[in-house]
């Protein structure tokens, strides 16, 4: 089909500054670039070299978080990866909990998994929608963004905000399940299952989509491992790895789910795996809502510090208020690392504490940042029109990579 004209190794020696190639600066203000610049060297219609230039939306999240109280990093990390807010929040809180030595109660763990899975569906739908508009299908774009809405409404019902939920705090979560949530969630899940069939007809099995994506942007298993790509893109290349299975957090060790993997690692596989993961998430949400245990939604260490007004609020409204500990939190000296499987891949947090009121070193790596090699390695040898296909299929989100 799409044979590679150039060998990647040879390209390191190609003098790319000559007059032979068209140099295209795709971005930073370009409908197909997002907040980044992709410098592309073209030989006719064939891509010879790609240099992704990121950092246009670098928001110094590490710098900011190292100069603020621990709790104030929660909104910061959320705003870095907007389609995956819950996962960023969760990953940070997990790291802080490791430092503090707090273990949240089981109900809070289940609630965390619940919002994480709802968020994963919205994240995948976001990715599918962006992929759609990159290939020119406005319908899939509108459908996917429209179908995020029922799930975002669920998040709104549970957490009080649509996207930037700030729902997970050290020691637990901030709100309990509201009345009528389970019934509403079941309706939404049934709706989504029906819609996935429509997506299949108009998008996944559309002959034009198949022509555009099959055998485009193939990353072999060995290359995927060597380049360290993450998330659904890694699993599309056939690597069985999922942080939820291999380093379980929240309630994932109690939930039964499969990790779908594909074989070919082309753009079509990367599209399919997102659909499959949505199916798995639907299955998981059903399980969580069925199995969720009763009990507290915040750890005893936090609960015991609540004053009478807050305890009354907790009993009546199932709402966890913040004791003063949240502001004056000083985790003991040490370091902790945590991983969380977000919608786009694995978030990694590494935080070093010196027992101070600010983190000493706040390091985190987002999935899109680790998926950058797709541009430099996979796009080479394809046609210019395949660049949006690859970009859309890896679900790259520039603000997330820039942090």
């Amino acid at each position: 089909m799409n044979e590679k004209v150039y060998n990647i190794d040879d390209l390191q020696n190609v003098n790319v500054d000559g007059e032979k190639y068209i140099i295209l600066q795709i971005g930073p203000s370009h409908p197909g670039s997002g907040h980044m610049r992709i410098k592309v060297w073209l030989d006719g219609d064939i891509i010879v070299k790609v240099d992704p230039d990121i950092g246009f939306v670098h928001r110094t999240s590490e710098w900011l978080s190292e100069r603020r109280e621990w709790i104030k990093a929660v909104p910061i990390v959320e705003r870095i990866m907007l389609p995956d807010t819950v996962h960023a929040n969760l990953a940070y809180v997990l790291t802080v909990e490791k430092l503090l030595g707090i273990e949240p109660p089981p109900r809070a763990q289940y609630l965390r998994s619940l919002v994480a899975e709802i968020n994963r569906i919205t994240s995948h739908l976001y990715g599918i929608g962006i992929f759609g508009i990159f290939l020119g299908s406005s319908t899939v774009y509108m459908w996917a963004f429209g179908d995020r809405e029922p799930f975002i409404d669920l998040m709104e019902m549970l957490t009080g905000a649509r996207i930037t939920t700030s729902y997970i705090i050290p020691g637990g979560v901030r709100w309990d399940l509201p009345n009528g949530f389970k019934e509403r969630a079941e309706t939404v899940l049934q709706y989504m299952e029906r819609r996935l069939k429509d997506y299949e007809d108009i998008w996944v099995k559309n002959p034009v989509v198949q022509a555009r994506t099959i055998n485009v942007g193939t990353l072999k298993k060995e290359d995927a491992i060597a380049l360290g790509v993450v998330g659904p893109n890694l699993r599309a290349s056939g690597v069985y790895y999922d942080t939820r299975k291999h380093q379980p957090y929240a309630a994932y060790s109690n939930i039964d789910f499969e990790v779908p993997t594909m074989k070919n690692g082309d753009s079509y596989d990367r599209l399919l795996i997102r659909v499959e993961e949505i199916k798995q998430s639907i299955r998981m949400i059903r399980q969580i809502l069925k199995d969720i245990p009763e009990g507290k939604i915040v750890a005893d260490q936090i609960y015991n510090q609540l004053n009478p007004v807050m305890k009354k609020n907790y009993e009546e409204k199932k709402r966890v208020m913040f004791p003063a500990f949240m502001i004056h939190m000083r985790p003991p000296a040490g370091e902790a690392a945590a991983k969380v499987e977000a919608g786009r891949g694995e978030i990694f947090f590494y935080i070093k504490s010196t027992g101070d009121k600010y983190p000493y070193r706040f390091r985190w790596v987002t999935p899109s940042f680790r998926n950058l090699p797709y541009f430099t390695h996979v796009a080479v040898g394809h046609r210019l029109a395949d660049l949006p296909t690859i970009y859309g299929s890896i679900d790259y989100f520039p603000p997330e990579a820039d942090r």
Binding site: V74, P75, E149, D201, E276
Partner: protein, 179 residues
């Protein structure tokens, strides 16, 4: 997963795609809210604009300390009759003395609606509302004075039809008239 990946033959594929598109063309299925004409009544825990209960607040500055974007500033006040506060004399930055206290004011240009302040308040003095769609014309409106901040936010589009959203099997999000 090979059966998932198997390409559909082009003729069936085109026919099915066109048929699905046509089905959606003739079916009533709009999921959008006709926004300014209809506005939504949001769930009670929705995090919208909020004010403070002047009598409940004890001026402890916890909200100022927890605010991640540093949007809250404490203004000096004097406790007057009936527990209500009156402005402190001009030029006084620090509130001192028995009747002196402080009250929070939110800069809406900075606020991110995380509700950390609402949750950290030891006397639960903040009054949350579900109003979320206010627009400001001037910079000074973003930064209200304490008296302006105390007024509960007014919803725009008062004549709009009020609806509540619900999960709908057919169109994802449906809207019922608000009770």
């Amino acid at each position: 997963m090979s059966e998932v990946r198997k390409p559909r033959d082009p003729v069936t594929g085109h026919v099915k795609a066109l048929a699905k598109g046509f089905k959606y063309l003739v079916e009533p299925n709009r999921m959008t809210l006709d926004y300014p004409a209809e506005t939504m009544k949001l769930p009670p825990n929705y995090r919208g604009f909020f004010t403070v209960d002047d009598k409940k607040c004890i001026g402890c500055s916890m909200c100022e300390m927890v605010c991640p974007p540093e949007a809250i500033t404490m203004v000096p006040r004097i406790i007057g009759e009936g527990g209500k506060t009156i402005p402190a004399p001009e030029g006084e930055k620090e509130a001192k003395g028995p009747k002196r206290t402080k009250r929070p004011v939110v800069n809406w240009g900075k606020c991110i609606f995380c509700y950390f302040c609402v949750d950290v308040c030891p006397v639960d003095a903040f009054i949350p509302t579900q109003v979320h769609d206010l627009a400001f014309e001037k910079d000074s409106e973003y930064r209200p004075s304490y008296e302006e901040y105390l007024k509960p936010p007014e919803e725009p589009y008062k004549n709009a039809k009020k609806v509540v959203s619900k999960a709908d099997l057919k169109r994802g999000v449906g809207y019922d008239p608000a009770p």
